[in-house]
């Protein structure tokens, strides 16, 4: 990850291929959006609501939800903020799989059938697509997700080789969206399992050469609700919108615990 000394200069003028970058007309199409609705203020029963919407080629599921909320039923509730997959607000179950609504293009789904949108599983639903995230963050906090360095503070930065930096690069990408944890069948059972997201964030520090508390985190995850509950189901890896190799990270943590003990 070192800086190449010279960045190539592009030519001042190039021939552009005809129509390059031009998308032509953006096609529009109709979709049926089915949203799992639940509002305990109204009824203890959940229900499906259907919206028929005209959408465009670059639209995402989030745009469809917005359209449903803004033009049809203002009470449809969901979290969202950044709208481009970096804040982790809008993990939800789209056609049965955990996805970020803002990163799922409608045209990549089968629009001939209704698109099903449900809250993520395993966390208490508060209203419609909004779930209580506290249990999720609690597990995150329990793995001590912060750098602990026992040496004395250097005056400048701590040195770290590019290779050492690369070692934990993958797990630094986590946006705490909970798509992984709420896709894990083990987490669904009793909610006690620390869950992949907590392990991913522990991994980020365990393999950071600047950190000295890896052993403490390994001890925490050597719990009966820790890494050993993972059954390598891989739903987490498939759900992660950041492309983090979650199961691999979990395997690395398992092996780190083993190596420490044996």
């Amino acid at each position: 990850m070192s800086t190449p000394t010279e960045i190539p200069e592009g030519p001042s003028k190039v021939e552009l291929a005809p129509g390059v970058g031009g998308g032509g007309e953006i096609p529009s199409f109709d979709i049926t959006l089915k949203v799992r609705r639940y509002d305990p203020e109204v009824s203890e029963e959940a229900r499906w609501d259907e919206f028929v919407l005209t959408m465009y080629g670059t639209d995402r599921v989030l745009d469809a939800l917005h359209k449903a909320k803004w033009e049809h039923d203002g009470s449809v509730s969901f979290r969202r903020s950044c709208a481009h997959g970096v804040c982790g607000s809008d993990a939800m179950r789209i056609n049965g799989r955990n996805r970020l609504a803002c990163k799922t293009l409608l045209k990549d789904l089968d629009t001939s059938k209704p698109i099903l949108v449900e809250p993520i599983k395993g966390l208490p639903v508060e209203k419609d697509l909004i779930v209580d995230m506290e249990p999720f963050f609690q597990s995150y906090r329990e793995i001590m997700p912060f750098l602990i360095n026992s040496g004395h503070e250097p005056t400048r930065e701590r040195l770290q080789s590019a290779e050492d930096r690369e070692r934990f690069d993958d797990t630094t990408k986590c946006i705490l969206c909970a798509a992984c944890t709420s896709s894990c069948p083990v987490f669904w059972t009793d909610g006690q399992y620390f869950g992949p997201a907590a392990i991913v964030n522990a991994h980020r520090f365990i393999f950071d050469s600047r950190d000295d508390a890896g052993d403490m985190r390994l001890e925490i995850l050597n719990d009966k609700e820790g890494v050993w509950r993972c059954r390598t189901v891989f739903n987490c890896t498939e759900a992660c919108p950041r492309g983090i190799q979650v199961t691999k990270a979990i395997a690395e943590v398992k092996n780190a615990v083993l190596n420490r003990k044996i």
């Binding site: 509002d39 509730s77 903020s81 508060e126 690069d169």
Partner: protein
Amino acid sequence: MQVHKYDVVIVGAGGAGMRAAIESGQRARTAVLTKLYPTRSHTGAAQGGMCAALANVEEDNWEWHTFDTVKGGDYLVDQDAAEVMAKEAIDAVLDLEKMGLPFNRTPEGKIDQRRFGGHTRDHGKSPVRRACYAADRTGHMILQTLYQNCVKHNVEFYNEYYVLDLLLVEEEALREDGTSYMQKRVAGVVSYDLASGEIHVFQAKSVVFASGGVGKVFKTTSNAHTLTGDGMGIAFRRGIPLEDMEFFQFHPTGLAGLGILLSEAARGEGGILRNADGERFMERYAPTIKDLAPRDIVARSMANEVREGRGCGPNKDYVLLDLTHLEPAHIDAKLPDITEFARTYLGVEPYTEPVPVFPTAHYAMGGIPTNIKAEVLQDNDTVVPGLYAAGEVACVSVHGSNRLGTNSLLDINVFGKRAGIAAAEYAKVAEYVEVPENADQFTIDLIEQVRAANGTERVAQLRKELQDTMDANVQVFRTEQTLNETLNVIASLRERYKNIGIQDRGRRFNLDLLEAVELGFLLDMAQVMTVAALHREESRGGHFREDFPDRNDEKFMKHSMAYKDDLATSESVAGIRLETKPVVFTRYEPMVRKY
């Protein structure tokens, strides 16, 4: 009325809010109120980097950095503030590294640095590598690292608490010269708990505003849906002026049509802009540093290319960002996220195809006026004791009329830290200000009025019309006529706003209601921006008036200060009174800004 009592209350848990919380949390009893889970804040979207003259890869020093900041801001920067920021930048970066931020590294293991627009060596001689970065998710790593340290220090967060009002009391006081004035004091804030729909009052000795930007007044924007200028709006409604609101930065490379940002790092790493003829047009506008010219210049150049018919695509309404001459491996190593955006959202493969881009509303240079201690000013020089602001919501002003890339992540860290320390120190010596009776009444009225609203106008429709107007008339090119037109539109939208209807009348997670409240802030802020833009009859930095295309130092080398003026005195426009505030000069005399 539920009243919580804290020494320090911080509004907002983005970079600035959490940086403040880390400091204040260790010194005083601190609560952080945030409308989003902290890690959802928009600081996480920042990509390119955070600059500091570390001189890790080439010669550099903070004085050059100060100069670039001042020049980049077209000399409207308060130079004392810029100096503070450039000096403290080095520690700000090192602090983050020590907190655990995984910066990219040089072969020697030091923090790596890269080029960014407007950052030069020796007062503009050539580009310099000053931006420290973590791939192209520097903001993400800053946000995560700060949150991690908040967890470490057990900072108390109130997540999904919308602050909707600031409690200020006024008392008569005497100036040094014997004249009397009304001194504001802060008593706390009022918030709305999204989960339960309840109102909570927070009494505090110090309040820090760190609630971020206001990009959602525009349609095409890199900002989150939640960046609705609440903090600025709350302060403004309570009589605090807003400084330099006419200056809004339009980032050159938003994905065409969507506004999603492709970081300037794309150009820092060698990407270039081309028009429909395949020409690298920036060679014409900024012969020395070309594509790495400051954002306002690049954005205007792009808009100009499109205006003059050299735009690309079916509607000739965008230009192209060309990365095809770069090694795919280089692109993957340095720009993985943003190339993924191009692929995901436009279906364009940046290795082989140029990416359609167009300027997108990005950053509010203006905001709540503060001094370099992050203390909020109630006028040009009177501090409101106990009230602080930092980050995008504030205007120190280090960005002047145009912010340099990577200076904002720096700003939030430097002034976030300052605000946190100052707020805690103040709380140690200060007494609580009595919370006024019925402190929550204003907020209850606001909420209940909206909850009961059953008019015929839709919030989403009004917001869309507002955003369309702002995009059409208050974007990179402005004229008196377009601005006046906008004021008329906003005035009619305000009328219609009185007749809105919402459908969700519940208490739990009533986002329908919140969106209506947020629209109220957006309307206020759009109006302030437009009035300020109308007032500034010159072109400077991010503000370009076609009817006044030149910078006019004689008349306008000053900050604008917009006050809410309910009495609608004769000089005020649309209930907004504009005054000015002198710019602080220390080292640099204004020069023509040329790159």
